[in-house]
C-alpha cells in the first residue's frame, strides 16, 4: 500500500459520491487493448490477424474482461517458497432490477442482486523448474455467489512427471419464453384462459466437472486418465396428452459420468500410436406428475372442481369453439363432468445408459512425403429402462377412458463402428494431395414391451368399473359393468414394439493444394459421400376387449367379428400403427475450390466455395443442391488499426416438385478495431447483416382456410411455409484512459430483427421474429493503489418485440445491472 504515497495518486482520489456517479458510466470490453498493445512488440508484430477486443455485452461475463489496470498475468508477483506467485481476487456485488416480463428477463439475463466473488486467480511458477510437487499451478474462477455462470479451473504440472487439469462449470438455465409450447388459447373461449408462461418452462442447473491427468507427458509412453461428470438438475414443466393436455411437473435429475483411460506409444520416430478406452454411464432419474392447482395457477390456469367439490384439472388448452377441452368446460361454477380432465397423473421410470468405447488412433509422418492420421473406434452402447410406470385418472371423453396404468420395459442398443483416415502426400514441394476418408456405421435396435390396463366411465363423476363375471355377469348390462363406448380402446393392451435405425456413411474428400508462392495458395477438390439409412418401426399388440354395458361392446375395435368367450375377446393385431419400413440411399457429390493469399504481412484474404449435389435426401428440408461461398479479408494498414470483413453465403434447395424447398442464409460482417499503441483510447466497431430465408411446400389442416391455400387432398390444404428473417447486429465500444489510473469504457450492441412467416394459427404473433434488443453499457476502473482497483459497470437490457403479444403476456423487458467491485492483485 505504499503506493498510496506515490506522486500523482492524490489527484485521482475521487470522492465516494462522484465515484458512484462515475460508476454509472461504463463497462468494458476494452481494457485488454491496453494490455495487448504491450505485447505488440513481441511476435505479434507482423501478425495480420487482428484480435477483436470486444464481444457482445453481458454483465454475467468474466470480470477480467472488464476494465482493469492489471490482469493477473501482468502482476509483478512475489516469490513465495521458491515460486513466483501472482494472485488476484475481486469481490463485489450486483444490483439489478427490471420491469416487464420476468420470464424473458430470467431467460435472457437472469442476473440477481447480491454479493459476488467476481473473480479469483492464482498463478504459481517455479522459474527454475525445481518445484517439489509442481512447477506450475494455475487456478482461476469467476461468478460465485449467485451469478448464473460459475467456473473454476485448475492446472498443475510437474516437468516430465505429470500434467493435471480440472474444471468445474455450473450454469443455471431458466427458460420461460411464454410462446413456446403455448396452446395460444383464444380470448373468445369460455372461459378465456390465457397461458401466461411457457408450459415447458424450466429452471435447471447444470454442473460439469472435468478432470484430466496425463502421466509422463514427454516420454515415449504416455498415459491419460480422465473423468467428467455432467449433472442436470432442477424443476421443469411439461405436458401430457390424454384427451386434453395436462400440465406436468417434472423434478429432473440426469447424471452422466465418463471415464477415460489411454496410453500413447511413441517408439517409432515421428509416429504415435494411441489406445483409449472410454466408458460413459448415464442415469436418467426424471419423473413427472400432474401439476398441483397452485402450480397451475402460476401459469394462469384456474382451479376447477366438480359438483361435490372434487378438484379436477381441465388441462392447458381452452378453445371451447373447437371443443377443447370440451364445448362447455364450466357449467355454473363447476367443471363439466362430461369434459376431458385429469384427477391425477404420474410417470416414473429411471433409465440407465452405458457407452463403452474403444479407440485406436495413429499419427505418423515417418515416410518422407506422406503424413497421415487414422482413428478407429467401436462402441456398443445400451439403454435400459427396466420399469416404466404411468398412471392416469380422469376422463378421455372420446374413448371414455377414465383410468389406466401402463407398465413396461424398454431396451435399446447403439452399435457404432467408425474409421477415419486422413493422408497428405507431398507430390512436390508446392503440390500436395490430401485425402480424408470417413466411415461411420451405427445401428440402433430398440424394443419396448408394455401392458396398459384401462377402465372406462361415462363421465368424470362415474366410478369406472373393472370387469369381472361376479360384478358383470351375462348379459353384461349391469350398471356395475364397464361403461365402454364403441370408440373405447382395448381394456388390456400388450404392446410389442420395436424400431431399427441404421445408417452407414462413407465420405471421401480428395483435394489438391498448390502453393503458388509462400503467400498465395489454392486448392481444388472433390467430395463423395454415400449414406444408406434404414428406419423400421413395428408395433404389434395383443388386445383384450371386455363386454359392458352391452355384450356387443366386446366386439368393438379390432375385435369386430372375433369370437367372444364370457364377455372377453382377445385378438392379436399386427402393425397396430402403420408399419414404417424405409430405406434411403443417398449419393452426394461436392466440388471444392478455394484460394488464399497474404500479399503483404498486413493483408490476408481467402475465398472458399462448395458446390454440392445429392441424388436424394432423407428429410424434405435437407438440400439436394447446396452452394456455399465464404470470403474473408483482414487488413491491418497500421499496427494499431485493423479492418476485417467476411461474407458467408449458403444457398440450398430441394427442387423436387412436391417439396419446392428453397433456403438461404447470407451473412455480411465488418469489424474495425482502432487501438493506437501510443494513445490512451481504443475503438471497436462491428456490424453484421444476416438474411435468412426458407420456403417449403407443406400440406396442413387449418380452419378457417388461410388466404391462398389450395386443396392438397381433403381435408388437407397446401401452402408455402415461408420464413424470412433479416437481422442487423451492430456493436461499438470505446475505451478511454483519461489518466494513468483510470479506465473508462462505453459500448452499445443492438440486435434488430424483422421478418415474416406463415402463420396458421390466427392467435399466433410474429413473436421472436421481429424485435429489438438493445444492450448499452458503461464502465469505469480506478486504480486506488498498486494492488487495489475499484471497478464498476452498468449494463442495460432492453428487449422489445415489434408485434402484438398475442394471447399471452408481452415478452418485453427493460432492466439494469450494476456491478461494483474491488480487485486486489499481487
Amino acid at each position: 500500500m505504499d503506493s498510496n504515497n506515490k506522486p500523482g495518486f492524490e489527484k485521482f482520489r475521487v470522492p465516494g459520491l462522484l465515484m458512484v456517479a462515475t460508476g454509472l458510466l461504463s463497462v468494458g470490453l476494452w481494457a485488454q487493448i491496453d494490455d495487448s498493445t504491450k505485447h505488440a512488440a513481441g511476435d505479434n508484430k507482423h501478425s495480420t490477424t487482428p484480435v477483436s477486443t470486444g464481444v457482445s455485452v453481458d454483465a454475467a461475463r468474466r470480470s477480467s474482461d472488464l476494465p482493469t489496470t492489471a490482469t493477473t498475468q501482468d502482476n509483478e508477483g512475489q516469490t513465495l517458497g521458491g515460486y513466483v506467485t501472482k494472485q488476484s481476487a475481486e469481490f463485489g456485488g450486483r444490483i439489478s432490477g427490471f420491469t416487464g416480463n420476468q420470464g424473458t428477463w430470467d431467460t435472457f439475463v437472469n442476473l440477481g442482486t447480491g454479493p459476488r466473488l467476481l473473480e479469483y486467480t492464482l498463478d504459481m511458477h517455479s522459474p527454475t523448474h525445481v518445484g517439489t510437487l509442481f512447477d506450475d499451478l494455475s487456478v482461476s474462477s469467476f461468478g460465485y455467489g449467485g451469478d448464473p455462470n460459475d467456473l473454476s479451473r485448475l492446472r498443475i504440472s510437474k516437468g516430465s512427471l505429470y500434467s493435471f487439469g480440472a474444471s468445474f462449470r455450473r450454469d443455471q438455465n431458466i427458460f420461460d419464453y411464454d410462446l413456446l409450447a403455448n396452446p395460444l388459447n383464444p380470448a373468445t373461449s369460455t372461459p378465456a384462459v390465457p397461458i401466461l408462461n411457457s408450459p415447458h418452462e424450466f429452471l435447471l442447473t447444470r454442473r460439469m466437472t472435468d478432470v484430466n491427468l496425463e502421466l509422463l507427458p514427454v516420454s515415449p509412453v504416455r498415459f491419460k486418465l480422465g473423468w467428467s461428470r455432467v449433472v442436470n438438475e432442477g424443476d421443469t414443466y411439461s405436458s401430457t396428452h390424454q384427451g386434453t393436455e395436462g400440465l406436468v411437473f417434472q423434478p429432473t435429475l440426469n447424471t452422466s459420468d465418463t471415464y477415460t483411460l489411454g496410453v500413447s506409444f511413441r517408439f517409432i520416430p515421428r509416429t504415435s500410436i494411441n489406445y483409449d478406452q472410454f466408458y460413459t454411464y448415464f442415469k436418467g432419474d426424471t419423473s413427472g406428475k400432474l401439476a398441483t392447482q397452485q402450480q397451475q395457477a402460476l401459469f394462469g390456469i384456474p382451479g376447477f372442481s366438480l359438483v361435490g367439490g372434487l378438484p379436477v384439472s381441465l388441462g392447458i388448452p381452452f378453445n371451447t369453439a373447437a371443443g377443447q377441452p370440451c364445448a362447455t368446460p364450466v357449467i355454473g361454477t363447476f367443471a363439466n363432468q362430461a369434459c376431458n380432465g385429469f384427477f391425477s397423473y404420474s410417470r416414473f421410470g429411471n433409465n440407465r445408459n452405458s457407452y463403452p468405447t474403444e479407440q485406436l488412433s495413429l499419427q505418423s509422418n515417418f515416410f518422407k512425403h506422406v503424413d497421415f492420421s487414422a482413428r478407429f473406434s467401436y462402441t456398443d452402447a445400451e439403454a435400459d429402462t427396466p420399469s416404466l410406470g404411468e398412471l392416469f385418472s380422469g376422463l378421455v371423453t372420446r374413448t371414455r377412458q377414465a383410468n389406466f396404468s401402463t407398465t413396461g420395459a424398454a431396451v435399446a442398443k447403439r452399435i457404432t463402428a467408425n474409421g477415419d483416415l486422413g493422408v497428405t502426400i507431398r507430390i512436390t514441394e508446392k503440390l500436395r494431395l490430401i485425402d480424408n476418408f470417413r466411415y461411420n456405421n451405427f445401428r440402433i435396435p430398440g424394443d419396448w414391451t408394455q401392458t396398459t390396463s384401462s377402465l372406462f366411465a361415462a363421465n368424470l363423476l362415474t366410478t369406472p368399473n373393472p370387469f369381472s363375471l361376479a360384478t358383470c355377469p351375462p348379459p353384461f348390462t349391469a350398471t356395475t359393468c364397464p361403461q365402454h363406448s364403441s370408440s373405447s380402446g382395448p381394456d388390456i393392451a400388450n404392446d410389442f414394439e420395436n424400431q431399427f435405425l441404421r445408417q452407414e456413411e462413407k465420405i471421401n474428400t480428395t483435394e489438391l493444394e498448390y502453393d503458388f508462392t509462400r503467400r498465395v495458395s489454392a486448392y481444388a477438390g472433390f467430395r463423395y459421400e454415400r449414406r444408406d439409412t434404414t428406419d423400421n418401426i413395428q408395433d404389434n399388440q395383443l388386445q383384450t376387449y371386455f363386454a359392458g354395458p352391452t355384450l356387443a361392446m366386446s366386439n368393438r375395435g379390432n375385435c369386430a367379428g372375433q369370437p367372444v368367450v364370457n364377455g372377453v375377446c382377445t385378438v392379436f393385431v399386427s402393425n397396430v400403427f402403420p408399419l414404417i419400413s424405409d430405406f434411403t440411399e443417398i449419393n452426394g457429390y461436392s466440388a471444392l475450390v478455394g484460394f488464399s493469399a497474404r500479399p503483404t504481412n498486413r493483408l490476408r484474404f481467402s475465398f472458399d466455395t462448395e458446390q454440392f449435389y445429392a441424388d436424394k435426401t432423407f428429410t424434405r428440408i435437407s438440400p439436394r443442391h447446396l452452394q456455399v461461398y465464404k470470403g474473408r479479408v483482414n487488413y491491418k494498414p497500421y499496427e494499431w488499426m485493423t479492418f476485417a470483413g467476411s461474407v458467408n453465403i449458403r444457398e440450398n434447395r430441394n427442387d423436387t416438385a412436391d417439396i419446392g424447398n428453397l433456403q438461404h442464409n447470407r451473412s455480411y460482417a465488418l469489424n474495425v478495431i482502432i487501438s493506437p499503441s501510443e494513445s490512451n483510447w481504443g475503438l471497436d466497431l462491428s456490424y453484421d447483416y444476416n438474411d435468412v430465408f426458407s420456403q417449403t411446400n407443406i400440406c396442413f389442416v387449418a380452419t378457417p382456410t388461410p388466404a391462398g391455400a389450395l386443396s392438397c387432398g381433403a381435408p388437407f390444404l397446401s401452402g408455402l411455409s415461408v420464413y424470412k428473417e433479416l437481422s442487423n447486429v451492430a456493436g461499438g465500444s470505446l475505451y478511454w484512459k483519461p489518466a494513468r489510473r483510470v479506465n473508462l469504457g462505453v459500448g452499445y450492441t443492438v440486435t434488430s430483427s424483422t421478418g415474416s412467416t406463415l402463420i396458421l394459427n390466427p392467435n399466433a404473433p410474429t413473436g421472436p421474429l421481429s424485435f429489438n434488443y438493445h444492450l448499452p453499457l458503461a464502465s469505469v476502473a480506478i486504480q486506488l493503489s498498486r494492488n487495489l482497483t475499484y471497478k464498476t459497470s452498468w449494463n442495460y437490457y432492453d428487449y422489445n418485440e415489434k408485434s402484438s403479444s398475442g394471447p399471452t403476456l408481452p415478452r418485453d423487458f427493460r432492466g439494469n445491472a450494476f456491478t461494483l467491485s474491488l480487485r486486489y492483485s499481487m
Binding site: 485488454q32 513481441g42 511476435d43 505479434n44 477483436s52 477486443t53 468474466r62 435472457f108 523448474h129 467456473l151 455432467v230 411439461s238 405436458s239 440426469n254 465418463t258 515421428r270 472410454f278 373447437a322 421410470g349 433409465n351 488412433s361 499419427q363 509422418n365 515416410f367 518422407k368 512425403h369 506422406v370 492420421s373 424398454a410 447403439r414 507430390i427 494431395l433 485425402d435 480424408n436 430398440g446 414394439e497 435405425l501 445408417q503 471421401n508 495458395s521 439409412t533 478455394g594 424434405r620 428440408i621 483482414n634 476485417a644 467476411s646 417439396i659 469489424n671 411446400n697 407443406i698 400440406c699 389442416v701 380452419t703 387432398g713 388437407f716 411455409s721 420464413y723 440486435t751 421472436p768
Partner: protein, 328 residues
C-alpha cells in the same frame, strides 16, 4: 449395389496409390520437410533422425538453449515460463527436438555470426512451413493430428496466427487472445450470432468455441468434435438427448441437431430455425409422396392447439416408451 460400393471404396485407395507413385517419380529431389534446413545441412546421421528418406541431422550444429539465452534474454524468460522448456526433458529425442532449436533450427552458425539470416525466423515462412515447424512435435497428439489438412491451413491461417510463443495473452495455451475474441477476429458473422437473444454462453465464458470445434482440424465437417462414441458433440452437455432410444426421432441421429437448431445463436427460443414450431415439423411431416416421414393426421387443425406440436410430442429427441414421443 454391393459391387458398386466396393468400387467406390477402392477409388480413394487407387487415387492415393497413384499419387504416391507420382511422389516417388517426381519428389525425390524435394525435401520432404523443406522448413527444416537442419536436415538439409546434416551430413552425419543422427541416432534420432530416423525419418525415412530424410537427410540426417548433424548434432554438432546445435548449441543448446543456454547459448541462445545469453543474447535473447527477454525471450528466454518467456521460454522458461511457458511449456516449451519441457522439451529439454525429452532425453529420448535428439537436439533438433529440444529447446529453442526445436523451432528455430540449429543455431551454431547464427550464434557464431549473429547473422539473423542464419537462423530460422517464422516471419519469413509460409503458414504451412511455419506450422510444420510446430507440428514436428505437436502433430503426434490426437488434438493436432489433422492440422495440415484443416480449414485453417487451407485458408493461410497457421499456428502463429492464433498462438504467440513468446508473448501470449493466455499463457496456458499460448494464445494471442482469449476465446472467443480470438476466433471472432476472423469469424465476425459468428460473433453476431452470439449477440442474438438465444445463444450458447460463449460470450459469458462458460463455453468456448473449442469445446465444440477443434481449431486444429479433424475428420468431421466444420471441424466439429464428437463424443467418444462418435455421436454429435452436442450430447457432451445435453446428455439426456443422446439416447440410444427405443424410439429414435431418426433425423436427430441421421441429420444432426442442426437440422432444427442454429447452434451458435438464434432469435427463436431453443435456438430453433423457425419461430413457429409447427412449421418446423410440417416441413417434413406433411402429406406428400416424397418423404418417409409420416404426415400429420387430419385432425391436427393448425388453427387450434395442434399448432403447438411439442405440447403433446414432448420427447421429440427420442423416447423409450412411446413411438409418438408422447412420453420420455
Amino acid at each position: 449395389m454391393l459391387k458398386k460400393t466396393g468400387t467406390q471404396l477402392w477409388l480413394p485407395v487407387w487415387t492415393l496409390a497413384m499419387a504416391y507413385g507420382a511422389t516417388i517419380l517426381f519428389g525425390q529431389s524435394q525435401s520432404g520437410n523443406a522448413s527444416r534446413p537442419e536436415a538439409a545441412a546434416g551430413k552425419q546421421k543422427s541416432a534420432t533422425s530416423l525419418k525415412q528418406g530424410e537427410p540426417a541431422v548433424d548434432p554438432s550444429q546445435y548449441v543448446g538453449a543456454e547459448t541462445c539465452k545469453t543474447c535473447h534474454e527477454e525471450v528466454a524468460a518467456s521460454y522458461d515460463k511457458g511449456p516449451h522448456w519441457k522439451t529439454m526433458l525429452a532425453k529420448h529425442q535428439g537436439p533438433e527436438y529440444q529447446g529453442c532449436e526445436a523451432c528455430h533450427g540449429p543455431g551454431k552458425a547464427h550464434a557464431e555470426s549473429a547473422d539473423p539470416d542464419k537462423i530460422i525466423r517464422f516471419q519469413g515462412l509460409s503458414r504451412v512451413e511455419s506450422s510444420k515447424r510446430c507440428l514436428s512435435c505437436h502433430e503426434f497428439g490426437q488434438e493436432h493430428a489433422n492440422f495440415l489438412r484443416s480449414e485453417h491451413v487451407k485458408n493461410n491461417v497457421g499456428c502463429i496466427d492464433c498462438h504467440s510463443i513468446h508473448a501470449p495473452r493466455v499463457e496456458t495455451q499460448l494464445l494471442k487472445a482469449a476465446q472467443p475474441q480470438l476466433c471472432f477476429s476472423c469469424h465476425q458473422e459468428t460473433k453476431a450470432d452470439f449477440s442474438k437473444p438465444f445463444h450458447h454462453r460463449v460470450n459469458e465464458g462458460l463455453v468456448s468455441c473449442s469445446n465444440c470445434h477443434n481449431p486444429h482440424g479433424g475428420f468431421i465437417t466444420h471441424q466439429l468434435r464428437s463424443t467418444a462414441a462418435q455421436d454429435a458433440v452436442c450430447f457432451t452437455c445435453h446428455t439426456d438427448k443422446a439416447g440410444p432410444f427405443a424410439f429414435e426421432h431418426a433425423p436427430v441421429k441421421t441429420e444432426g441437431c442442426v437440422a432444427c437448431h442454429s447452434p451458435h445463436g438464434s432469435s427463436n427460443p431453443r435456438l430453433l430455425k423457425r419461430s413457429q414450431v409447427n412449421l418446423l415439423c410440417l416441413e417434413c411431416h406433411t402429406f406428400t409422396v416424397d418423404s418417409a416421414a409420416p404426415a400429420i393426421p387430419s385432425f391436427h387443425n393448425q388453427a387450434q392447439k395442434y399448432q403447438s406440436c411439442t405440447t403433446c410430442h414432448i420427447a421429440i429427441h427420442g423416447s423409450n416408451t412411446d413411438h409418438f414421443f408422447f412420453r420420455q
